[in-house]
């Protein structure tokens, strides 16, 4: 496929008019027609029904249109990323993190971007999935890392980056210190430190966990960020849960929970079809290509 063929096809699919499409693309109509015919040869059938006064997309044309629109945008973005790299230019990078996704997940990506240019204008926002979706759709956030994301609006595109299990976090002198793993019943005897927002994935997971085990937590305290909850654990106010991707730098004990649990997926989400600046677009590429699981295994080893 040639980019010019894709460009002409998308213009014709939008206008359904050979003369108008040729005008938009600044080529002669015969040149546009030839390019479309060539693309049809390659894709294995007509892309348009050509009737005297009407031009309509065929079923094949409708099938390939979204892919070719994405291809055109991807090629355009790749060019602007290469230009920005050469000129050492950046664009603002606004990332959303759903509650319980640690900021440290971003560290390797940000250090690669900063090697290219230290002038990155970075904004991080924590929030519930619903809040982040709203902000992304409103254009206030470029990309978000969320948990699972099975119920995301269709307009958001999602890629699973890695899957992880929940682990227990407790103060370093805690009675769980000598236990290899901790049962749910034992967990319920502790004071649980949770996010104040009931939409936090950890809080929802804990609620399900106790309901399945038929127990109720003895006591709960609430904080408003993962970092605050970690400080509360360190201050021996109670125990909490986190995804195992949480870096092991915090001076708290980490213990597996004794239960069958589904993995939670960390997913990258962006608004489908939205044109992003070169820095967020590059950030997305780095995330999609990264060997995430390999990192955490390397750290564990």
């Amino acid at each position: 496929m040639e980019l010019s063929q894709i460009k002409y096809f998308v213009a014709l699919a939008q206008t359904l008019h050979f003369t108008k499409a040729a005008e938009i693309c600044n080529v002669s109509q015969p040149a546009l027609t030839r390019a479309i015919q060539k693309l049809e040869q390659e894709l294995g059938g007509p892309l348009f029904h050509r009737e005297r006064s009407h031009t309509q997309l065929t079923a094949l044309g409708q099938t390939v249109l979204p892919s070719l629109e994405r291809a055109l945008a991807a090629a355009r973005d790749a060019r602007s990323q290469a230009d920005a790299f050469r000129r050492r230019e950046t664009s603002p990078l606004r990332i959303g993190l759903e509650y319980s996704v640690p900021t440290a997940v971003l560290t390797p990506i940000l250090s690669v971007l900063r090697r290219q240019n230290t002038d990155i204008e970075l904004t991080l926002r924590q929030g519930s999935q619903a809040q982040l979706c709203e902000r992304m759709l409103a254009g206030e956030i470029d990309l978000s890392l969320m948990v699972n994301g099975a119920d995301l609006p269709e307009r958001l595109h999602r890629w699973e980056l890695f899957a992880e299990r929940y682990i227990l976090l407790c103060p370093s002198e805690h009675r769980f210190r000598d236990q290899e793993r901790v049962a749910v019943r034992e967990l319920a005897e502790e004071c649980l430190l949770l996010h104040e927002d009931a939409a936090c994935p950890v809080r929802r997971f804990v609620a399900d966990l106790f309901e399945q085990a038929g127990v109720r937590p003895r006591r709960q305290h609430f904080g408003n960020s993962l970092e605050q909850i970690l400080e509360m654990v360190q201050a021996s106010l109670g125990v909490s849960l986190a995804g195992e991707s949480l870096p092991a730098t915090a001076p708290v004990l980490r213990r597996p929970i004794e239960m069958e649990q589904p993995n939670r997926s960390i997913v990258l989400t962006v608004v489908a079809g939205r044109q992003l600046g070169p820095t967020p677009a590059m950030c997305i590429k780095l995330m999609r290509a990264r060997a995430w699981g390999q990192d955490s295994k390397a750290e564990a080893a």
Partner: protein, 218 residues
């Protein structure tokens, strides 16, 4: 043994149905797509892409070292491509000695996510061309025909999962060499998965380009 001969022998071991599908693909690419591939004398598109370690590699910076060889391959799932990359790995030192650099590009994001290239100890950068965005600019990308897609799916090769995109676009195997001004001095794609440029020929061509002044591109 020459790479082409090895690949031809590998192909002979594949199921007849697969060989027939690939023959049809080659015929289609020769008829409709090869004429759109980047040619000698044209400007090589600039690119900046993640490598297997998650770092960014820019063509612009590679040109500081000398001419650049760019090889497009389909993915880790393709035995013909893996054999080719191994053969290129064996001449990585010769590429450097000839005064140039070599990179291989593929949209196979899954192989980067799984750390496959790190484990295989590649001695030149293997880059993820996410969504084939760079391959599109080189004119190497095509949409996998439906029959071949069904064959791959039945064999457990789901490009939607591997690429993180449902388009089923692949690059045809292709090799380009550009001089330090970015002018393409050598371009080869034949639409046949077993037909690759021999590593020895890449070294010879690269040495030739390195020994002559950079050209102005069209």
């Amino acid at each position: 043994m020459e790479l082409r001969q090895t690949l031809t022998e590998m192909m002979a071991q594949r199921p007849a149905a697969y060989q027939a599908l690939l023959n049809d693909l080659t015929a289609m690419l020769r008829r409709a797509a090869l004429s759109g591939v980047l040619r000698e004398g044209e400007k090589m598109p600039d690119f900046v892409l993640p490598d297997a370690d998650g770092d960014l590699v820019a063509s612009d910076e590679l040109f500081h070292h000398g001419p650049l060889v760019v090889v497009f391959f389909r993915g880790e799932w393709c035995p013909f491509c893996c054999t080719t990359l191994t053969a290129l790995n064996d001449v990585a030192d010769e590429v450097r000695a000839a005064g140039g650099s070599l990179v291989a590009l593929s949209p196979d994001a899954a192989s980067f996510r799984s750390g496959a290239w790190q484990r295989q100890g590649m001695r030149f950068p293997v880059l993820t061309d996410i969504d084939g965005a760079v391959g599109l600019q080189f004119g190497t990308m095509f949409r996998v025909p439906d029959g071949l897609r069904d064959f791959y799916l039945a064999a457990g090769i789901d490009l939607t999962l591997r690429h993180g995109d449902a388009s089923w676009f692949l690059p045809m195997p292709a090799t380009f060499i550009a001089d330090t001004s970015g002018t393409v001095r050598f371009a080869y794609a034949s639409g046949d998965v077993t037909d690759r440029v021999e590593p020895a020929e890449i070294i010879a061509r690269l040495s030739e380009v390195a020994a002559t002044p950079a050209l102005k591109h069209s």
